[in-house]
């Protein structure tokens, strides 16, 4: 778009709102963020680069003077990291704030940065517990039986459903964030509704993980014990007391270890390998 066009546009709207972001502008930014959220993730500033790149279409429109544009670009190259699906809210709010600033309202640069850093933690927590820890594994798990039977639908359905639903959610949140602004969002976060959504997601997630463990963790002992001349199978005995006690014990043993010692994936893997080898050689497992 040429500078002339921009001037015309500015004249058309009334003087207090010189620059307005249209729905199309917001969608451009939103799509850039959805596509690139993790592409340029770096140790130094995590998602800063993609957030800045996503803001570019809007910033170019809002700041026609070069020094203002430079300031805005640098502002958004600062450290940023969150979960980008609920993070659509942040994008929306920030777009709103930049628009206000461009129109000469008193929005200090710090306010924009501190809004981003202030919200990215809580927003990431919501995203992690709902979108990643609950929704995604549940969705995969639901169609896993199909995969186990050899049907490609077990992979195709999650591949369609997960992105489409989360894309729509992020789209909605971005536009809502833009409309409502920062005050409304702080209220939304305090609202008890968010807490019960997280509770519901976690609870359903846990029950599903329990059910899946029962189906897919398989540990049994072929050991036969000789008691006064008569032989009986250990596994049968265990099953008659509590079915599935070995798999459940394995899940909780690993869980408790991780709670105490942190997510030390490699050590646990090594332990599993060693236990499997010993179990196989000795005939216990």
């Amino acid at each position: 778009m040429s500078a002339e066009n921009k001037n015309l546009e500015a004249k058309d709207t009334n003087n207090t709102q010189k620059y307005t972001l249209t729905k199309k502008d917001i969608n451009k930014c939103f799509n850039r963020l959805y596509i690139g959220a993790e592409m340029s993730n770096s140790y130094e500033r995590l998602q800063a680069l993609v957030f800045c790149a996503s803001m570019c279409p809007a910033l170019e429109k809002l700041y026609t003077k070069k020094d203002e544009l430079v300031k805005a670009l640098k502002r958004h190259l600062q450290f940023y990291n969150t979960d980008s699906i609920p993070g659509g809210l942040i994008l929306g709010i920030v777009l709103g704030m930049e628009q206000q600033k461009a129109n000469g309202e008193n929005v200090p640069s710090d306010a924009i940065t501190s809004l981003k850093t202030g919200l990215m933690g809580p927003i990431a927590a919501i995203g992690d517990s709902i979108i990643w820890a609950a929704y995604m594994p549940i969705l995969i798990a639901l169609f896993l039986p199909l995969a186990k039977q050899g049907s490609p639908l077990g992979g195709i359905l999650p591949l369609i459903i997960y992105p489409v639903t989360t894309y729509i959610l992020m789209y909605y949140l971005t536009h809502r964030g833009f409309r409502l602004g920062r005050d409304a969002i702080t209220q939304l976060m305090k609202n008890g509704k968010m807490q019960s959504v997280i509770f519901a997601a976690d609870t359903v997630g846990l029950m599903m993980m329990g059910a899946l463990s029962a189906n897919y963790v398989t540990i049994s002992s072929p050991l036969k014990i000789n008691v006064s001349g008569s032989e009986f199978a250990l596994q049968k005995l265990l099953d008659s007391i509590v079915p599935g006690i070995l798999p459940l014990a394995a899940v909780f043993a690993i869980y408790l270890y991780m709670i105490k010692k942190g997510q030390n994936f490699n050590k646990i893997l090594l332990a599993v390998v060693v236990i499997s080898l010993i179990g196989s050689v000795t005939g216990i497992l």
Partner: protein
Amino acid sequence: MNNILLVAILMGIYYWFCRLRCGYTFSSMLLQPVVIGVFVGLLTGHMKEAMIIGGELQLVYLGVTSTPGGNVPNDPALAGCIAVPIGVLSGMSPQVAIALAVPFGLIGVFVDQLRRTTNTFWVHRADKYAEQGNTRGIFICAYILPAIAGFIIRFPIVFIINYFGVGLAKQILVMIPTWLLHSFEIMGGILPALGFAITLTVIGKKELIPFFIIGFFIVKYANISIMGVAIFAVCIVALLTVFMSNKKGVVS
């Protein structure tokens, strides 16, 4: 289609593309072993075997889908892009394929660290572009350069291992003694426990653990399908939230 060269090339490209993370939630699903299974199935013509191995491998990485902070504790994509095609083409049992996958899942972590380190260069370059107000340059730093670097980092490893791996795996499979084979089976049975334990820690609500135990024993005692458990779970939770909000008196 049993051309190993073509399979190896396409798997390398697939690994590069899914790990590029192009499309936030799309790519995160694309890199799951069960979805890799679909691709391998299409590629090799052995859809059934590919889905079974992919599904089995998925269990190990179910919880890995959900780590906060963007760090990858284990890479399901590298594990899947190697174990599924080699497993299918050399006729491995799913358990042996899992045993093969696990070390590559670990190597994948280093590969990802390498990628995020190279990404640091692009953000510095973007700083310079920002100084000039060059938005085009910032776009290239955020999308194009990571894609090019990612290809150089990721394509070769999957291509080479797949290209040479199938033949090698066939030879090794014949030599594996039964006790070792059996220990792979045990491992394949235990490893999903790791996936579920990680999910438990990610959800991170100790007081809600009984729900996990309920889910476990519903299946053990009543033998209900996964979809059935999902239905019960949603209903129970829906009722619980009603009771809970009643207690606080916020129901309108």
